[in-house]
Every structure is written in C-alpha cells, then in structure tokens.
Amino acid sequence: MNWLRRLFLRKPALTLEQSLALAAYRSNAPIAGAMPLDKLRFVVADVETTGLNPFSDQLISIGAVEIVGGRIRLDTGFEVVFRQSQASANANILVHGIDGTTQLCGMEPAAATLQFLEYISNAPLVGFHSDFDRLMIDRAANRAIGFSPSNPWLDLAFLAPATMPDPERKLQLGFDEWMDRLGIVNQARHNALADALATAQVLQVVLASAISQGVTTLAGLIRLEQDQRWLRHH
C-alpha cells in the first residue's frame, strides 16, 4: 500500500510564503507562439546529478542563464545546489566538483525549486539533450513541491543540426563536438552554470541561423525542433 500512500497522501507541505511563490509562478501567462525570436527571453539550463539514470539518480544542482533580445545576460546567472540526504559517491563528485559538504549544506529542495521557478517565469527552457535535464528537474520538483514546471523545452541537440547542417552529413554531434565546431570555450566543464553559459552561446548561434533561414517565431522554432526529432527517429 506504500505506493498508494505516496500517490495520494504525499502532498509536500509548503509554507505560506512558498505557496505564494508557487502561485506567483502559476499565474504567469503562457508565452505566445507568435513571439518573435529576437525579442524573446530564453532560459538555458543545465543540471548536475548523482548519475545518468533519470529514474534513480538525484538532482544535485541547476545552473541557468537567460538570453534576452539575443544577448546573454551575464549579470543574472542562476545557480542552486539542492540539499542531499547523503553525499554522492566520490567518482561522481570528481565529475561536477560539488563536494560532500556543499551537497549536504545545499538549499532545502522546496525552496530551491521555487527559486528556480521564480527565475524561469514563463520563459522557454533550452538545453542540450534537454530531455534528461527536463526529467531530472521535473522529478525533483514533483518531489519537493508536488508540481513541475510547465514551460516548453527546446533541445539544441536537435535544433543545432537543424539550423546548421553538417557538411559531412554526420548526423549526431555531441555537445563537446558542437562546442569545438563553434569554437566555444567552456570555463569549467561540468559546472552547471558554466555549462549553461556555453549552451547559451550555442543557442545564440542557433537563433541567428534560424532567423536568417526565415524561422522567426517561437512556434516556428518549436516546429523545427520537432521535425528534426522525427527525422532522427525515422
């Protein structure tokens, strides 16, 4: 009966202030598909986790930067470490460099989730292989506050090849390969914020290419991403 209880009774208790923060997030109007790309606010997010299994591993940190009017805002970067009940394994710590104490002293998950929601507001979220980021964030958010963000996600792993076809017809470039190809320097690979910043630069290039190819609205960009997904899977 445990799963039943989890399903029906486990509604995380939020403080009044936290409920207000959640209500503020939920009252944001969804973004219109007709919004022109060069006016939009995007939030580029990246996560660090205890491992690569989205169903059993834990979210450790989220890093994010915003792109407003085609420009990456460097003064408003977002970074939060979720408090862990136990520190992750040493091998994992070596990947992202978030040590055990920092993990244990991180922010209480509900507060961290709400801070993230406040930051993203109604902006479309962008990542590279973003299905993973999305799953990790949704699962952590559901556990912490019983709610996960409803923002649309865009995956650069599909958008980058869609807007910048590879001359060698090599379909699937990884993140590091795209960085190489675009000459983007990452200051600290596997730091959530630094990765988000690098990813944001990929998005800038993608946006400029998309616009030059006549894709000028959010709806157009979403369609382009979905077409590429379809291509990849068929």
Partner: protein, 608 residues
Amino acid sequence: MEDAALLFLASHVALGYYPKGTVILDTEGPPPQAFHIIQRGTVQLLSFNAAHSDDAHPVHMGPGECFSVSAMLENRPVIAPYTAVADTFCYEMPAEHFPELLNRSPVFREFTTEFLASMLRESRRLIQLNYNAASGEQQTMSRTLRSLITRQPVTCTAETPLGDVLRTLQNRKIGSMLVTDGDERPVGIFTRHDVLDRVALSNCDLSKLISEVMTPNPLTLPAEASAYEAALLIADRGIRHIPVCDGHRLIGVVTERDLFALQRVSVRGIHRAIADARTIEDLKLTAADIHRLALTMLGQGVSAEHMTLIISTLNDALVRQVLQIEASRFDLKGLSWSWLAFGSEGRFEQTISTDQDNGLIFDCGSDTPDAVRSRLLPFAQVVNRALDACGFPLCKGNIMAGNPHWCLSVEEWRERFDHWLANTDPQALLRAVIFFDFRNLYGDESLTDSLRRHLSESAIGNSRFQRQLAQYALENKPPLGLISDFITEDEGEGRGTIDLKKAGARLFTDAARVLSLAAGVTHTNTVQRLRQAATTLKMPAGEVNAVVEAFYFIQTLRLRGQMAQDSELKQSNRLDPATLNEVDRRILKESLKQLRKLQSRLALDYQL
C-alpha cells in the same frame, strides 16, 4: 584590472552574437549604444581612408580587443563600419556605464575574455573579494605602521647630555627623542611631556646624561603592526609615542597625532580624561566623547571589527573608573569580588547604544553569602545608577549587579550554571545564553577564571545541552526571501525593515556560542569563538573567514544605523534594505547567505 572594476564590468555586460558578415556598427547608424569587447571571433575595421580607396588595409581585431571608444564617448556614429568577418561573440556594456568604468579602472582595456567568463561562475566569491578589497582600502586603521612613518627618527646616544637633547627637541620641533645603542636598538625615550616632570619641576641639572632621565626600555611595535594595534596600545597604556622597529632596528616613531590626525577626539585623550575623572559628572562628559569618537571613526571608514574593539576598550576603562570611584566610598575591606560583564559587553562587541548587563561574583570566605551580599549590594546599586547616568541605560530585564539575584558567591554562581545546564525549560536556556558570555571587568580575576573553567568543563561533555542551544540558535532564520531579496517586517513601526540585531548579528553570536562550547573555547568574543572553534572542529579557513567578514559587515551596518538615527534609539537596529546602494545590498544578501550556511552546518552537526 582591479577586482572592484572587474566586478562592475561583469555585472553590467551582456553577451551578444554576430554571425559572419554582420555589420556590428555602421556609419549610418545611431551612435554606439554599447561598448563592445570581442570574446571570440574577428571584427574588421575599414579605416576611413581605406574605405575610400582600393589599397585598403583593413584592421582586424580579435578576442580581448574592444571598440568603439571614441565614437561612444563623443556620442556620434562610427567613422568606419565594424564588421564581423567570422562568427563573433562580443561582451557588450551599455554606454551609460562606460564613464563609471573608466573612473573605476584605468587599465580596463587589458582585460581578457577568459577572466570575464570565469568571473560569472565565481561572482559569489568575487563579491566577497571586492568587499575585502573595498574595506581594505578604506581602512586607514589597518594600515601598517611602516606606511605611516614619514621621516627618519631623531636619535641620540645614552651619553648625550640632557641640555643637548632639549635643544634638539626645541630646534627641530619634535615631540620625542629616541635613545639608541650602537645597533640602532631603542634603549630609551624622552618626550616633551617628560620635560615638565623630570626637568623643570625637579630642577634637574642640564649636564646630566640623557640615560638618567629617559624612560628606559620603551614599548615598541613591529613595522608590520597595524595602526589600530598602536591605537589600542595608546589607549591601554596612556602613552603618546610608540617607537617602531624593523627587527630590532628603530625605523621611526608613531605618535597619537599620526594616528588620529583627523579626529577631534583622540583615543588617548578620552582614556586620559577617564583616568583623570574624579566624579561621575566628569565621566558623563567622557561618555559623550566616546560617542563622538565612534562617529568620527565611522566617518573615516574604520571597520566594525576595530571600532567595536576600541569602543569596548574605552567603555571598559569608563566602567572600571566608575567602579573605582564608587568603591572608594564604601567599606569593602577584606572582600574579594569581581565585576562581571554579560551580553555584548561580555563579548567585546559593544555598539553605541548598549544597555548594561552586569553582575557580581564574590568569595565569601568564612562569612555566609548573605552577609557578604548585604555589604556589596548597596555599592552595586550605586554603580548601576552611575552607569545609567553615563549613558548605559538600566537593564530592562534587571540583569544588574544591584539585583540580589545576580550578586552571588562563586558557589552560588556554579549552582546556577549547573541548573541551567541540567534543565530543559526555555527559561533556563535563555539565562544560559545571556550569562554564559561573561567576563571579568574589574576586581579579582581568579574568581571569574574558576567560574569559566567550571562552565567549560561541564558544557563540553553535555551534548543534550549543546543540542538544545543549537536548536535555540536555529530558531530564527536569516531574512532572505524567495520572491524578493529580503524578508522585511510587514507591520508595526518596523514595517519594511530588517532587524539587523535580532535577524542578523544575534544569529551569528548564537551559532558561535554553540560551536565554542562544543569545542571548549573559553573566549567570549564571537569572532574569536568562531576562529578558535574552527581549528578544533576542522572547519576550512576560507569558510570561517567568509562568516567572519559577513558578521563584521552586518555589525558595520548596525553602527552606521545607530549613528544616523541617534535620537530614535528603539529603531536603531532597523534597516530598510531599499535604502542601501546596489553594492551594499548585494553584500548584505551575501552576508545573510553566509549566515544561512553557518546555520545549515550547525543543523547538520546536531541533526536538527
């Protein structure tokens, strides 16, 4: 580039992208709206002549280079177009911030893209660095004595006749003569003030050797000591000149005038006035001087660390003088007693408006405690009233030596302490919080020492009590919000403000108390507690330093507030964050985050 200027730059730029072939700035367009720094890529500039001739030699600019300064400053379009000839990323700072950056850093053009991007990631750390740097520059009081010395010391040998020395003092218009040996080691000092006592009044023979009238073996400080150490020595010893040595070699003299050239009221002046005071009336005046001195120092940017120390030192002297004056009017012969300070005074953390929190401890010898108490109480009550008159308001909770509850024998104090340690009721805990920050202010120090030892030994093994104390320390959280930066009070007089004491400084103090009792640290000062406990509890030094800086910043804000709203004492710990400038707001936020981290650590240690 300077940390402060970099931080400014990093917090005012955006990163823009220009695909190959884009004209970034055009001759036809509006004046540049932003200052561009190339992060990656290449930008081509056709010089004016080149643009109009065939043998054009375009200028190429790469990462780290920036444009277009002159057009932006003159608010005109560029003379020649700037074109991205490769896919290019540029950091862009809106033109309105440009003059500010020029102001802040003359070398900003040298900076490279690498630094900027890494700054973003480390902005949190840098804000702290910036804070350190900024407060370091302002802190005249933390300058080394070496930097204060402006001229060679005037010296003579021990065999110089007194008459020659007096002539030199007069001719060169100096305040003191240093007597050195063959190795330039200072062996004595003779000042203008000594002339009156030792020469004029005693009708001394001018052919005497200086070695017979000088002050031998003067107190010296090393060249790397800070100005505030000198200020404390001046206050503590009542001296006016401090010889400064590099190794054993004399390199100069620092005087009270050097240290407080700009201050109307000097530390030593106040100290001497206190020492010379014979009545409570005299002391009232010096109490006002302490206040004025604090004001001046705050104006000069002296940090909270040094200020609270200096204020505490002077207040100590004042209280001791009150005790000395009043003790002489009572028959306390044969009694061994010590005046205790509690609360902020006990922690050496007095700000300007501080209630008195004090008590007495005595050794009853062969008498009963009640008999001794009845002799001490009238004296203590007079002292409480005198302190009130000197600007230390009576304690609302009646924690004062004149209250029979807090005028106790060593054994009685121990019983109280044991009771508070053993009991779980909130009242006992509250008492413990106030009274465990005690120290000796005047009288027989061995009494307080034995009480301190007793407390330290009983508390270190009492994990239940520590846990309870930790729980108490975590009851209030730093006022950091989710929606807005800060959580402010939403009703009453303090609406829209943060209580810097209750929701700030006190939380540091409470946490430090737990850590110190757990680590067996006997010091009562919050910063000393943190530093010493950190060594025992193996907290990383960087972590402790960040907490200490955060605590001092909040204390500085408190002092600033107290000075500004002098007349409304009850509001004095309140701060409306909206009135802070951007930098201070961010530092305050960062400081409160440090507090949150400290609390998390405590919660982790005690599984709360």
